[in-house]
């Protein structure tokens, strides 16, 4: 009884604190998500990972003056936007403000809103820039309660120094801000030194050992899958409570050579049994007694050093790291520590671009990716091979893989093509042949399969568009468990006026597992109205039907910006959603989202109704 009362008190106090912060906190525009290359099939990817994926681009934007064409190619943006940026980049025009940038790059207002999230320019501005975001949501299932709260703020000074904070409470957690984090970055010192401290992530090569983004799934953006992202440290203000480093890092740039080093001491969530690590807990949820007991139970000490040689667009690098854990992590590393070595390359020769990374863990485990891209007359063709030995595993790795899980055990060949058929049509496609090296079940062949994606994008002059995607996935797991999944997606938007648009999204899934056949389908229709008073209203509905959980449909739903609104739909039912965005002044945006879902499982008798209300405040001073 006392515990319940205390919890209620904590929740009430927490709510008051959140509301108070809401009134104090003060960011920036809003992401028009339709211009992003969103992931199509997220079977193995949680929504939170997708949020983290976007967060890392936004929290660590590229410096326009310093980035190169490859960096632009790897962004999860629509091709037509990247094309404009690349043309502008190749013209080498210096810009000091976003107005000139938009004019020179010939970007539309909507596109510009998005670009400002992904890039930084050396804008002449006030000494400090303060940005903050406060998000919280209520849910009515089973009782009305605070569902989630996320608070994020940063102060950036003119010279590039910054300090950032993040705090989060997940559903049902007992502490108000169960997760808190800080990050620091110094301005550029002596024109060559960059130091950041507290929490951070590291982008190296193709992410075999370290990656800034918590995930790398196959997407329609095949260039983003094959090319590496820029090699750098990035401050961490994400909501993933485990996968980051905590300590200090140093980057030293000397003409063509860049040196990286880091020291990290980080407490991780883990399940420890008989003084041996049974599993890493990466959900970030601390609700049950077991989850709370596992919080910060394992300490990780990491040191790392690397050197990168850069000449024009070509890069060669080598990196060494070692991690030591407070308990043996036998299941994953076979002992209480892990040491690794990585060699990375990227070089161009005419229309050809090569890039790859090879990593060695201990003396036995090996992984490598190597790919090349050929560009000619607006068409790009790419191939990548990847190999992960059976027990290759690093906690901070993020590389395109088919099989998720703690051990790698995979080999694959990935081929992609994209091109502009004419002024109106763009075509993209990939095929991925994947297989496990060996089956862990005796007497069973290693699972293997094929993924095929074909996408066609049609753009009209009035910014209307139509997007078709077909995906076929065939997996052979064992003699009686072959999976064939066909998925067709459509997305279209028609701008009735400059201020009024109507959009439709639909996905059909047909799944065959052995002799079982299941289907799923969802359709979403919504409209967006913008008023001169800087109010933007989006309202719509989604209807869905799926005969089984396996044939569930993932559909993007407009909602609170910076949140990834990809909903998983199974059973039968519908959802209503409404987002109201009000720009109170140039630097203050208030967003409210309400969602209602009525649903029942196919075998259930009754419908179940849930509601979520979200509030988000973005301030940019």
């Amino acid at each position: 009884m006392l515990r319940v009362r205390n919890m209620l008190l904590i929740k009430k106090t927490g709510f008051l604190v959140i509301v108070l912060c809401q009134t104090v906190l003060l960011l920036a525009g809003v992401i028009p998500s339709e211009l992003l290359t969103l992931y199509l099939d997220m079977e193995n990817i949680p929504e939170s990972d997708l949020e983290t994926y976007l967060e890392q681009f936004i929290i660590n934007p590229l410096q326009w003056d310093r980035c190169n064409v490859t960096d632009i190619e790897t962004l999860p943006l629509r091709d037509h936007i990247k094309e404009k940026l690349i043309i502008f980049k190749n013209r080498n025009i210096a810009t000091e403000n976003w107005i000139d940038f938009q004019k020179e790059a010939r970007l539309k207002d909507e596109e510009m809103e998005l670009i400002e999230f992904f890039f930084e320019i050396s804008e002449k501005r006030s000494k400090y820039k303060i940005s903050a975001m406060n998000f919280f949501s209520f849910k009515t299932d089973p009782d009305i309660d605070i569902h989630k709260n996320l608070l994020r703020g940063k102060i950036v000074n003119n010279n590039g120094g910054m300090i950032g904070i993040v705090a989060e409470r997940d559903y049902d957690e007992r502490a108000v801000w169960d997760y808190r984090n800080v990050c620091l970055k110094t301005p550029l010192l002596l024109d060559r030194l960059e130091i950041s401290a507290a929490s951070f992530r590291f982008n190296w090569g193709h992410g075999l050992l370290f990656s800034m983004n918590g995930m790398a799934g196959k997407s329609a953006n095949f260039m983003g899958n094959i090319l590496p992202r820029s090699q750098r440290f990035g401050v961490y203000m994400g909501s993933d409570e485990n996968r980051y480093l905590h300590g200090i890092n140093l980057t030293c740039r000397l003409k063509n050579i860049t040196m990286y080093s880091l020291v990290s001491y980080h407490k991780l969530d883990a399940t420890i049994k008989d003084s041996v690590v049974e599993s890493f807990r990466t959900s970030g949820s601390h609700v049950t007694d077991a989850e709370i007991a596992g919080k910060d139970a394992l300490s990780e000490r990491t040191i790392c050093g690397g050197v990168l040689y850069t000449r024009a667009d070509n890069q060669w690098g080598v990196l060494f790291y070692q991690s030591q854990y407070s308990y043996p992590v036998a299941k994953f590393f076979r002992n209480s520590g892990q040491a690794g070595l990585s060699v990375y390359n990227k070089f161009t020769a005419g229309s050809w671009m090569f890039s790859g990374e090879c990593a060695l863990l201990g003396t036995k485990e090996l992984a490598f990716v190597q790919g090349f891209i050929f560009s000619q007359a607006g068409y790009k063709v790419g191939i990548q091979i990847r190999y992960f030995s059976d027990w290759f595993f690093t906690p901070l790795s993020s590389v395109m893989k088919e099989y998720s899980g703690t051990t790698a055990n995979e080999r694959a060949l990935y081929l992609g093509v994209q091109g502009k058929l004419n002024r109106k049509y763009r075509l993209g496609a990939y095929i991925d042949f994947f297989s496990k090296n060996r089956s862990m079940e005796p007497g069973v062949d290693p699972p293997r399969g094929t993924d095929v994606l074909i996408s066609l994008h049609r753009q009209w002059r009035g910014n209307h568009f139509l997007d078709f995607r077909y995906k076929r996935r065939s997996v052979s797991q064992s003699m009686f468990e072959n999976i064939l999944k066909n998925q067709l997606s459509l997305s279209a938007r028609y701008n009735i006026l400059d201020e009024l648009s109507v959009s439709i999204r639909s996905t059909v899934v047909k799944l065959q597992t052995g002799a079982d056949k299941n289907t799923g389908m969802a359709v979403s229709v919504y409209s967006t109205i913008k008023s001169h008073g800087k109010i933007k209203l989006t309202a719509g509905a989604t209807h869905f039907y799926s005969t089984a959980f396996d044939s569930r449909v993932y559909l993007y739903e407009p909602g609170t910006p910076l949140r990834f609104n990809m909903v998983s739909l199974n059973g039968t039912g519908y959802r209503w959603f409404l987002t109201l965005q009000k720009e109170i002044s140039e630097s203050f945006i208030w967003i409210t989202t309400a969602k209602i879902q009525t649903k029942r499982g196919i075998a259930d008798k009754h419908f179940h109704r849930t509601a979520i209300i979200e509030f988000q405040m973005l301030v940019d001073l």
Binding site: I496, V502, M521, A541, T572, Y574, F607
Partner: protein
């Protein structure tokens, strides 16, 4: 005997339809594969803005030819020069033992040249012999977008307020439909619609209207899940219009719908 056959008839229907499942018998809609969101005189109030002046219309059908499953529909409406429309509909379905009655008031407006939106208020009333009668109110909203002279798009959300009968134990159908019509030739209209009742899987519907003569339209359509084939004709002379449609069911007998209207 007659009473027993009617009860059997009702049961036959209720295996296929919940209460107020059948919401229109407009012959043109039926003939075009049950497309309900795109054309006037059907369920989308926004489409009524395409009418000019006043209209009065009566439709009748005997569902699957079964005696006692008679459906009557009387519609009246007015559309102003400014493209504001007002209308009322009376519907009656059933027999002395099982009766569904609906009164509908609708209003729609052409907000801008390329967009019309409308709303309908439905008063549903059900009476079953030997049981208490019950009634409820349902709200339907619809919109139609005139993308070009050839291409039109419409959406319809029926019973968005989740009405139910008999102490929430019987939910009325909450349906969504999105339709697209295309006119590749001045004499040919093609339409397609995606229909979803919350309880059931998606159903795809499609139809073609061919204007064979200045006063005669021929229509043919089909729907999938459940599979139905439809066909019909529309005769129009001056302000008068006569429609008839035939619906084919894989097991049950054919349903014939016919209607007569005047627009002045």
């Amino acid at each position: 005997m007659i009473k027993k056959s009617m009860i059997i008839g009702c049961l036959l229907v209720t295996t296929g339809f919940a209460a107020f499942e059948l919401q229109t018998v407009n012959p043109s809609s039926i003939a075009l594969g049950n497309v309900i969101s795109l054309y006037p005189y059907s369920l989308n109030p926004a489409a009524q803005t395409e009418n000019v002046g006043k209209f009065l219309r009566f439709d009748y059908s005997r569902i699957f030819g079964i005696k006692g499953l008679d459906y009557y529909e009387l519609q009246a409406g007015w559309t102003s020069i400014g493209k504001r429309s007002y209308g009322a509909v009376l519907r009656s379905f059933g027999n002395p033992i099982y009766q569904e009655k609906t009164i509908v008031f609708n209003h729609a407006r052409r907000i801008i040249n390329v967009l019309a939106a409308g709303v309908s208020l439905h008063f549903y009333h059900i009476a079953i012999s030997g049981y208490d009668s019950d009634g409820t109110v349902g709200l339907t909203i619809g919109a139609k977008c005139y993308i070009s002279e050839q291409l039109q798009f419409a959406v319809l959300f029926q019973n968005v307020n989740s009405p139910s009968l008999y102490d929430r134990s019987n939910r009325l159908p909450e349906c969504f439909s999105a339709g697209l019509s295309y006119t590749p030739h001045p004499r040919i209209d093609w339409c397609m619609e995606l229909f979803k009742d919350t309880e059931f899987p998606f159903s795809t519907r499609t139809g073609v209207r061919i204007k064979t003569l200045p006063c005669l339209d021929l229509m043919v359509g089909a729907q999938l899940n459940p599979d139905r084939f439809t066909g019909g004709l529309a005769l129009h002379w001056k302000q008068f219009r006569f429609d008839a449609a035939l619906l084919h069911h894989l097991v049950l007998p054919y349903t014939i719908c016919c209607g007569f209207g005047i627009c002045y």
